[in-house]
C-alpha cells in the first residue's frame, strides 16, 4: 500500500483491494492448478537439494559401468537406479542436477524478457500514439524472426555458455510480455485513480511503477510462468541440437542428444530425460493456466 502522502483516490479505489486476495480465495478449488503447484514445487525442491539427493557425482565417469540399464530392467541395480550413460555417469544424479540448469535458465530468462517486454508494453500502452507505433513495429519485427533458428545461430557464435544461452533466450522471448502489458496498461490508463495521480502532479515513474505496475502484475505473473516453461523448452531444443549448453553439463536436452545413438536398443536413455522435461514444463504450464483462470474476473471461459 502507498504511504500517507498518496492521493485519497488510490486508497478508496476498489481495484487496489489487492488483486492477490481474490486469488487465494479461489485457489483451493482449482485442481489442475494445485497439481501444477505441487509438481513444480517438488521439482524446485529437487533442484535445490540436488547435491544432497544425488547418490553419485554427476560428472564422475566410470568405463567399467557404461550404459547400465535402470533398476526395473533385469540387468539393472539399485546402485544406479536410473542406470548410467555412455561414459558410466550415474543417470539419476545427472537428472537431478539437470533440473537446476533448466530452472535456472527458465527463471532468469523469463526475468530478463519480463523486464524488456513489460517496459516496452507499459510505455506503448500508457503513451499510445507514436510510442505505441514504434513498439508495435519492434514487436512485429521480433515476431517475424524465426526464434529457434536465430537462437541457434547466435548461440553457436557466442559459444553456448550457460549465461550466454540464458541471455539469448531473455533477449528473444519478450513478445508475450509486451502484448499483455500493453493491453492491460491501455485499460488502466484512463482509470480514475491514475487520473487522480496525474492531476495531483505525481511523477511519471511514480504513476508507472506505483499505480500501473501493481495492477497489471497478476497478468504479467501468468505470462512469466508460461515464459519460464517456454524458455526451458527452448534451452532443451538448443542443447539437443548441439548449440546450447555444452558437455559435460547435465542439461536434459543435451542428455537426450547424447542418448540418441543408443535409443534404438535402450530407449530409456532418451525416455528418462524427456519425461523429466515434459513433466517440468507441463507442471509449470498447469500452474500458469490455473493462475490465469482464477485471476480472470469471471473465471474460465467467461
Amino acid at each position: 500500500m502507498p504511504d500517507s502522502t498518496t492521493p485519497l483516490a488510490t486508497r478508496t479505489s476498489p481495484r487496489l483491494r489487492s488483486p492477490f486476495a481474490s486469488l487465494s480465495a479461489r485457489l483451493p478449488r482449482h485442481r489442475t492448478l494445485l497439481l501444477g503447484i505441487t509438481i513444480t514445487g517438488l521439482l524446485v525442491l529437487i533442484a535445490l537439494l540436488a547435491p544432497w539427493l544425488a547418490p553419485h557425482d554427476p560428472y564422475a565417469q566410470s568405463t567399467a559401468n557404461r550404459m547400465i540399464p535402470p533398476v526395473w530392467h533385469a540387468a539393472g541395480s539399485w546402485e544406479h537406479m536410473l542406470g548410467t550413460d555412455r561414459l558410466g555417469r550415474d543417470y539419476l544424479s545427472r537428472l537431478l542436477y539437470g533440473a537446476r540448469i533448466s530452472l535456472f535458465i527458465g527463471l532468469l530468462a523469463a526475468f530478463i524478457s519480463g523486464l524488456i517486454g513489460t517496459t516496452l508494453g507499459v510505455l506503448a500502452g500508457y503513451f499510445g500514439g507514436r510510442v505505441d507505433a514504434v513498439v508495435s513495429y519492434i514487436l512485429t519485427t521480433r515476431l517475424a524472426l524465426p526464434v529457434v533458428l536465430v537462437a541457434l545461430a547466435l548461440a553457436s557464435l557466442t559459444g553456448g555458455s550457460l549465461i550466454m544461452v540464458t541471455l539469448l533466450l531473455g533477449l528473444l522471448l519478450w513478445d508475450r510480455f509486451t502484448v499483455v502489458a500493453r493491453s492491460a496498461t491501455v485499460q488502466l490508463r484512463d482509470a480514475e485513480y491514475v487520473q487522480a495521480a496525474q492531476a495531483l502532479g505525481a511523477s511519471l515513474p511514480y504513476i508507472l511503477l506505483r499505480e500501473i505496475l501493481p495492477n497489471i502484475a497478476p497478468a504479467l505473473i501468468v505470462v512469466a510462468t508460461l515464459e519460464v516453461a517456454n524458455a526451458i523448452l527452448l534451452e532443451a531444443t538448443l542443447s539437443f541440437l548441439g548449440m546450447g549448453i555444452q558437455p559435460p553439463l547435465p542439461s536434459w536436452g543435451l542428455m537426450i542428444a547424447e542418448g540418441k545413438a543408443y535409443m534404438f536398443f535402450q530407449p530409456w536413455v532418451i525416455a528418462i530425460p524427456g519425461a523429466a522435461l515434459f513433466m517440468l514444463v507441463l507442471a509449470i504450464n498447469l500452474l500458469g493456466d490455473g493462475l490465469r483462470d482464477i485471476s480472470a474476473p469471471g473465471g474460465r471461459d467467461e
Binding site: Y137, T140, T141, L143, A144, L145, P146, V147, V148, L149, V150, L152, A153, L154, S156, L157, A229, L233, A236, T237, F240, L241, G242, M243, G253, I256, K260, M263, F264, P267, I270, A271, G274, L277, F278, V281, L282, N285, L286, D289, D301
Partner: protein, 305 residues
C-alpha cells in the same frame, strides 16, 4: 479497405527491410568474411586480394547496399562449404520444407477444428476434457523428443514408416505429425473459445428460435464465423512451423531448409544461415500479411485498428 491493405503492406515492407539489416549483421558478426572465403590455406596477400575483390574494404553501409541489391534479386552469395550459390542450395531444399509445412498444417487443422467444435458443443463433457488434455500435453511436449519417440515406436518397432529421408511420401508422415502436433493446441483453443462465443450470440439464438436444426445452426451459421480467426491463425502457424522445421528436419534427417540451416550453423557457413533466416522471415511476413487482410475482409471492425 484499400487504405488498410496499403498501410499493412508498408509495415510489412519495413519489417522485411529491418530483418534484412539483422540478417546482414548476423553475417558481419560471424567473423572476418575475407578469411572465411579464402579458407584456412589462404595467405595474408590472398585474403587482402579477396577483401578488395568482394568489396569488403568498403564502408559497411555501402556493403549493405550492395548486399541488399543482390538479396533483392535472390542472390545471397556463395556457400563457404558447398562452393555453390546459396540460392541454388535453398531452391533445392525449399520444396521439402514447404511440403512438410503444409502437411503439418493439414494435420493440425484436421485434428484441432473438429475437436475444438466438439469440445465447445459438449462443454465439460469427456470430449472437452480429452481436447484440453491434448492441448495441455501438446504445449509441454518437447517436439524433438516427441519426434524421437515416434521414430522408436512407428519406425523401429512397428516398421510402418521410415525413420529418416524424404524419398517417398511415407518419409513425411512422422515428421508432419511431430510438427503438426505442435500447432494443434493453439488452434484448438481458438476454435473452442470462438465457437463458445458465437454460440451465445444473438444471431445464433435467432436461428435457433426460427426452429432451424442444430446441425444447420452449428455448421451453416456458427462454424463459419468461429473459424475465421482460426484460418488467420493457421497462416501464422504455418510461418512458425517453417521456422520450427529446423528441429524436426534435423531429428528426421529430412533434407529441407531447416536441416540446411542447422548444418550450415555447425559449419560456420553463415552466408547460408543468413539467407535461410531471411527467407523464413519473409514467408512469415507474407503469411501474417495475408492473415491480416483476410481477417479485415471478413470482419470490417478490424480495419480501423
Amino acid at each position: 479497405m484499400w487504405a488498410f491493405i496499403l498501410k499493412r503492406l508498408l509495415v510489412a515492407l519495413g519489417v522485411a527491410l529491418t530483418i534484412s539489416v539483422l540478417s546482414f549483421s548476423l553475417l558481419q558478426i560471424s567473423g572476418d568474411l575475407a578469411i572465411a572465403i579464402g579458407g584456412p590455406e589462404a595467405t595474408a596477400e590472398q585474403v587482402e586480394q579477396i577483401r578488395q575483390e568482394f568489396g569488403l574494404d568498403r564502408p559497411l553501409i555501402q556493403q549493405f547496399g550492395a548486399w541488399l541489391w543482390n538479396a533483392a534479386q535472390f542472390d545471397f552469395g556463395r556457400s563457404y562449404y558447398y562452393q555453390s550459390s546459396v540460392m541454388e542450395l535453398v531452391a533445392e531444399r525449399l520444396p521439402v520444407t514447404l511440403t512438410l509445412g503444409f502437411l503439418s498444417l493439414a494435420i493440425a487443422i484436421c485434428v484441432s477444428i473438429p475437436l475444438g467444435v466438439a469440445a465447445a458443443l459438449k462443454r465439460g463433457s469427456w470430449i472437452d476434457r480429452v481436447a484440453m488434455a491434448i492441448a495441455v500435453t501438446g504445449q509441454a511436449m518437447p517436439n524433438f523428443w516427441f519426434g524421437l519417440t515416434l521414430i522408436i515406436v512407428f519406425a523401429v518397432n512397428l516398421q510402418w514408416f521410415p525413420a529418416a529421408g524424404s524419398e517417398s511420401w511415407k518419409g513425411y508422415v512422422l515428421p508432419a505429425i511431430a510438427l503438426g502436433y505442435y500447432a494443434t493446441p493453439a488452434m484448438m483453443r481458438l476454435t473452442r473459445s470462438g465457437m463458445l462465443e458465437v454460440l451465445q450470440s444473438d444471431y445464433i439464438r435467432t436461428a435457433r428460435a426460427k426452429g432451424l436444426s442444430t446441425t444447420s445452426v452449428v455448421f451453416k451459421h456458427a462454424l463459419r464465423n468461429a473459424v475465421i480467426p482460426v484460418v488467420a491463425l493457421a497462416a501464422v502457424e504455418l510461418g512458425f512451423m517453417l521456422g520450427g522445421s529446423v528441429v524436426i528436419e534435423t531429428v528426421f534427417s529430412l533434407r529441407g531448409l531447416g536441416h540446411l540451416a542447422w548444418s550450415a550453423i555447425s559449419r560456420n557457413d553463415y552466408p547460408v544461415v543468413q539467407a535461410v533466416v531471411l527467407i523464413i522471415a519473409l514467408f512469415y511476413i507474407v503469411l501474417t500479411l495475408l492473415a491480416d487482410i483476410l481477417n479485415a475482409a471478413l470482419d470490417p471492425r478490424l480495419r480501423t485498428r
